[in-house]
């Protein structure tokens, strides 16, 4: 026997408690990872080169307030501005789908390549989009989701404008960080919905990143003290302010994460204290036969650390697997289900009915999770297209590992100190 074997045997002496402890850490760390990835995805700065050159201009009062189309020449005259396009949210509902589907924006089709150059299509598709007034292009993700193809007709009821528009799909683009939107002609919207003279916002492209601060300041200044003051900002700043309209998401997710971590510490500390307290007598024996305080401290720390790390492996590893490869996750779930069912049946055969039935219920739950992961193997399917990517980055795994390590250390401190303070004689008097 080695010291490691001794520690493992001690940690697993009460298998049910050890399993529940590991699962509580795993579920909490899974939740933590999920929240951190969600926060990252929502606030992710655009990484494409075009984003570094794009400026969003919206009504200073609110993004819901429209801007006059007559602002266009004034913006185009600002030195450093290369191209400008309106960008108006249509708010169309696809077929009878409820909730969020995909967003549609009206724009100047001739400015697509200059302002949103990363949206790649073939040359005939670009040309068709630029020349056909009722044409539209859609992102690859949306096309795949709704099985749409070039040449299809698409009719959308607007929830913003009192009109219904029918579009002809002339292109399917890919290459942006979010290939879900549909783009069509502002002119078509203006004519069909009697919207002439108003746009939702402006997107512009500046010549160089160095021009951006100057352009932002100039655009803001150009409409100061007018009936439609604007707020110009970089794409990243715009996205963050857009997210902030949902509420202070960062604070909200941060608060939930803190509560998760704090609860986790309480649960683990309580479990470790209980686990150590019930073998005070044994620890006193170890002291008597020559184990020193620091060795006992190391045993307790290793046990607590080991449980936390097992939880990390299950929680963060499970999250990574679920968000990157749902089918493997599903296969593992089915494997675990088979093991639980087997052992539960054996338990029932041995006439431990309540444990056996509990095991079967747990197996059903795991199987249900596996089935769901199998049917929705990608994050896009899991979130019905809300998230396209959901990357468990090394940094997020690192944060989860630090939390787990901290958990292992913090929850072992109190029991370790009580063992260190305990005299052998008083420990021996402890009742089993």
């Amino acid at each position: 026997m080695s010291i490691g074997t001794f520690i493992i045997k001690n940690a697993l002496r009460n298998k049910r408690r050890a399993t529940l402890s590991i699962l509580s850490v795993a579920v909490s760390l899974f939740l933590l990872v999920f929240l951190l990835v969600t926060l990252r995805e929502l606030t992710l700065p655009p990484e494409d080169v075009g984003a570094a050159l794009r400026v969003a201009v919206r009504n200073k009062i609110s993004i819901a307030n429209l801007l006059p189309a007559k602002q266009l020449p004034a913006i185009e005259r600002v030195p450093g501005v290369e191209a400008v396009t309106p960008f108006t949210w249509y708010g169309g509902r696809y077929q009878n789908e409820e909730g969020m589907t995909f967003a549609q924006f009206a724009m100047d089709a001739r400015k697509l390549r200059s302002v949103f150059g990363e949206a790649k299509m073939s040359q005939p598709e670009y040309e068709a989009f630029e020349t056909i007034k009722d044409s539209c292009i859609i992102g690859k993700v949306t096309a795949e989701k709704y099985k749409l193809k070039i040449g299809d007709r698409l009719t959308l009821d607007s929830t913003v404008y009192p009109c219904t528009l029918t579009f002809r799909i002339v292109g399917i683009y890919a290459g942006t960080t979010d290939d879900r939107n549909m783009l069509f002609h502002q002119e078509y919207l203006d004519d069909a919905c009697d919207n002439a003279g108003w746009v939702g916002m402006w997107w512009l492209r500046v010549s160089t990143p160095d021009d951006m601060p100057r352009v932002i300041a100039a655009v803001n200044k150009a409409f100061e003290n007018t009936s439609a003051e604007v707020r110009a900002e970089s794409e990243r700043a715009f996205q963050l302010s857009f997210i902030s309209m949902l509420g202070n998401v960062r604070v909200l997710i941060g608060s939930i994460s803190s509560v998760v971590v704090f609860t986790l510490i309480l649960v683990s500390a309580s479990t470790m204290s209980m686990a150590v307290r019930e073998r005070f007598r044994e620890l006193a024996i170890l002291k008597a036969i020559g184990f020193r305080r620091r060795e006992l401290f190391a045993f307790i720390l290793a046990e607590s650390f080991g449980l936390a790390m097992a939880g990390l492996l299950l929680g963060a590893g499970g999250a990574w697997l679920l968000f990157t490869n749902g089918k493997i996750f599903a296969a593992i779930c089915f494997g675990i289900t088979a093991i639980i069912v087997g052992s539960s049946v054996m338990t029932i055969v041995r006439r431990h009915y309540s444990s056996g039935v509990t095991g079967l219920l747990v197996a059903a739950l795991v199987a249900r999770i596996g089935l769901w992961a199998f049917q929705n193997p990608t994050i896009s399917k899991m979130t019905n297209g809300f998230f396209i990517t959901f990357e468990v980055t090394p940094k997020i795994v690192g944060i989860a590992a630090i939390v787990a390590a901290g958990l292992g250390i913090i929850s072992s401190i109190a029991p370790a100190f009580s063992v260190a303070r305990m005299s052998v004689v008083s420990g021996l008097k402890t009742l089993d």
């Binding site: 697993l12 020559g290 020193r292 005299s423 004689v425 089993d432």
Partner: protein, 227 residues
């Protein structure tokens, strides 16, 4: 005949417990010599201080005053860490409630004190097997404590006490939880340790029959030696 070597020398040993404002004297000015190879039994009524004396000799408790030398080492002067090392190398413990680790087999329980040494795995295995053979449990080495009888558990505890080859074996009521047959087996093992292996065995007991296995018996009464 040569004078037997003194292994434990106790001089003017006192132990006073403070319970709030009340002071309880557990040991009062005890002086005692114990020879190598002796099987000494400590007897006396509850609260007489016999277990306290045993704990001080074994280095798991400290006196209020006085001196306790074991093989020339004044154990009352050692710090916590030194005491732990000293106990590992010089003292084997046997308790009334066996105190085996329930998740470890008999073999692993006996091996436990050897984990603190620099012995190789093979050397440890050899020593553990020898210790289990001495107590007659070589065939039970892979049993968990719950699979053993009380007497067998106590014999495993004795093997654990012996495995580091200590000069001193201390036993606190080792037969208190055993039936008469098992008690006899355990006492026979302890006696043979003293007689054949020249170990010094100090045993606390209430039972005059158990005390009869010792080579010398001393009585404590209210913290003092009564004869």
């Amino acid at each position: 005949m040569p004078e037997p070597e003194t292994i434990v020398a106790i001089r003017n040993l006192s132990k006073v417990y403070s319970q709030g404002e009340i002071q309880v004297t557990a040991l009062n000015n005890i002086s005692l010599d114990i020879a190598r190879g002796e099987f000494l039994t400590l007897m006396g009524p509850s609260g007489s201080g016999k277990s306290t004396l045993l704990h001080i000799i074994a280095g798991i408790d400290r006196p209020t005053s006085g001196e306790c030398r074991v093989q020339g080492v004044n154990v009352t002067q050692l710090n916590e860490s030194e005491l732990a090392d000293w106990r590992n190398q010089n003292v084997g413990f046997v308790f009334q409630t066996f105190n085996l680790i329930p998740v470890l087999t008999a073999f692993e329980n006996v091996e436990l004190p050897l984990l603190l040494t620099k012995l190789s795995r093979k050397q440890r295995q050899q020593l553990v097997s020898t210790a289990l053979e001495i107590v007659g449990l070589a065939d039970r080495s892979h049993h968990l404590p719950r699979q053993l009888s009380g007497g067998q558990e106590q014999r495993v505890a004795i093997a654990r006490a012996l495995v580091t080859d200590p000069s001193l074996v201390v036993a606190d009521e080792p037969t208190g939880n055993l039936d008469s047959h098992s008690a006899q087996e355990v006492l026979t093992v302890l006696q043979s340790l003293s007689r054949t292996a020249n170990k010094t065995v100090i045993m606390v007991t209430h039972d005059p029959k158990a005390a009869a296995y010792g080579s010398r018996s001393i009585h404590l009464e209210k913290g003092e030696l009564s004869n």
